[in-house]
């Protein structure tokens, strides 16, 4: 993987100037490379990883992982039915998997009730959906490589040879 991507994946706020500096490339080249990645969809979006465990306010949401068994369609395979499902805005992620079920969804809703409603009223009745299993998420320990804890204190002594 290009070093530029490695740096941005770690900290999306690193500026092109800083990247040019620390990788010893020209600013122009770095900017061009980033634009190209954005255009091609290699870099999709820049966003913050928020530790929602720490903001238990009124808009906090619940998340569920939903296993979905579907029947593929002739000529279209899974893609068409997957699209019918991932178009719902409640669906935050959607993956096709090998194994005992076909699609894995990550669904977000205001509370358990809204998520159950989504499953019962929108997802399960779909023609090609043969069954669903809903797992509510209880606690997040790690997301996208980041361990979700209060900032760890520095364990090194502050000065040494």
């Amino acid at each position: 993987m290009d070093e530029i991507l490695e740096i941005l994946e770690k900290d999306g706020r690193t500026t092109p100037e800083e990247i040019a500096k620390i990788t010893n490339r020209s600013l122009d080249k770095v900017k061009k490379a980033i634009r190209k990645y954005e255009r091609e969809g290699v870099i999709l979006k820049y966003k913050a990883i928020i530790n929602k465990e720490l903001i238990r306010d009124e808009d906090s949401e619940v998340r569920a992982l939903i296993e979905v068994r579907v029947s593929p369609e002739k000529d279209l395979g899974f893609d068409h039915v997957a699209e019918r499902i991932y178009r719902f805005e409640e669906v935050k992620s959607c993956y096709l998997l090998s194994g005992t079920y076909d699609l894995l969804l990550i669904v977000e809703g205001k509370n358990i009730h809204t998520v159950s409603q989504f499953v019962a009223e929108k997802l399960a009745p779909l023609e090609n959906v043969r069954g669903t299993v809903t797992h509510f998420l209880l606690k997040k320990y790690k997301e996208d490589g980041v361990i979700l804890k209060h900032k760890e204190e520095n364990k090194r002594i502050t000065i040494s040879y």
Partner: protein, 386 residues
Amino acid sequence: MISERVQRLEPSGIRAFFDMVLGMKDVISLGVGEPDFVTPWQIRETGIYSLEQGFTSYTSNKGLYKLRLGINRYLKSRYGLEYCPENEILITVGVSEGLDLALRTIINPKDEILIPVPSYVSYGPVTELAGGVPVYVDTRAQNFKLTPKILEKSINRKTKAVILNYPANPTGISYAKKELDEIKKVILKHELLCISDEIYGDLTYDFEHTPFPTLSGIKNRTVYLNGFSKSYAMTGWRIGFACGSEEIISAMTKIHQYTILCAPITSQIAAYEALQTAKKSVEEMKREYRRRRELILDGLNNLGLECVRPDGAFYVFVSIKKTHLTSLDFAQKLLKEQKVAVVPGTAFGKDFDDYIRISYASSLENLKEALNRIGEFLKYLNLIKN
């Protein structure tokens, strides 16, 4: 009560400064001589598991055979360097112990040991404790590199050995193979020994690291010191290794068995795991350090602070001549005014009072903030305008 030999050790001013740093909160530290990474998880997990399994005993004096074999394989595949795991490799408690053993093993009273300065803090004192005489070779006029010419000039009939350290603490400089070859010729010509501390070898950024004993004809005159602290972020585990001829390693083992017995078994098991699986983590850390080096060099350059571009390790030795402050004064004031910690140059040689050591083993974010603060500090000293 205290022996004269011990009373002579270490300037006390720096100790007081260190205590001052340790007693202060919210300091951004560029004064740390160890990685800011935590040991990769798979290594830590192996240590924990070994404890659960009940591996809590002594090991053989030389260290676990499988670890010595692992080191033998690592050196062979990485550098084409061969040491026999049975009798040419000794597991030590960090490179610090290896250095102490090597010096105590070779020094007769009043033997002279050549130490290029600035140098790591322990070389001189440990030489003195072993009854030898440290002879400091000032390298600043050669961009902190030992050259055959100044080496030759420092040798007399009492000279016993040269200590090399590359990439170096505190300057980060290293040597290309050709330069090492020239040094080697002088060592061979005068039939000296070489103690080569290559703990930062894996952290060489612009060219391939050449271990001293891989040069032709010098292996039997070299004690090669290395360890796990810096490349695997394992400083607190205290595992190093010394390699050399059977003669010298068995002599070093004599002292080791009476003073240390063996390195801790948990750490040895974890170190073995590091050799097996942590290559990817090492490469990642190295890339991160290289980025930090570019950031800090660029920042220092913008502030008008001069330094020699480091080739490896994670240090820059920065000239503070234009501030007209002593290095201790500079470090104390910077700490007080801006809460940034650096190590005064005198720690690495008494004549380096116009330098400070900056360690860039700190996150990019911290380094940026520290550079800003140093900028503010220079403004406060009226050395730069807005």
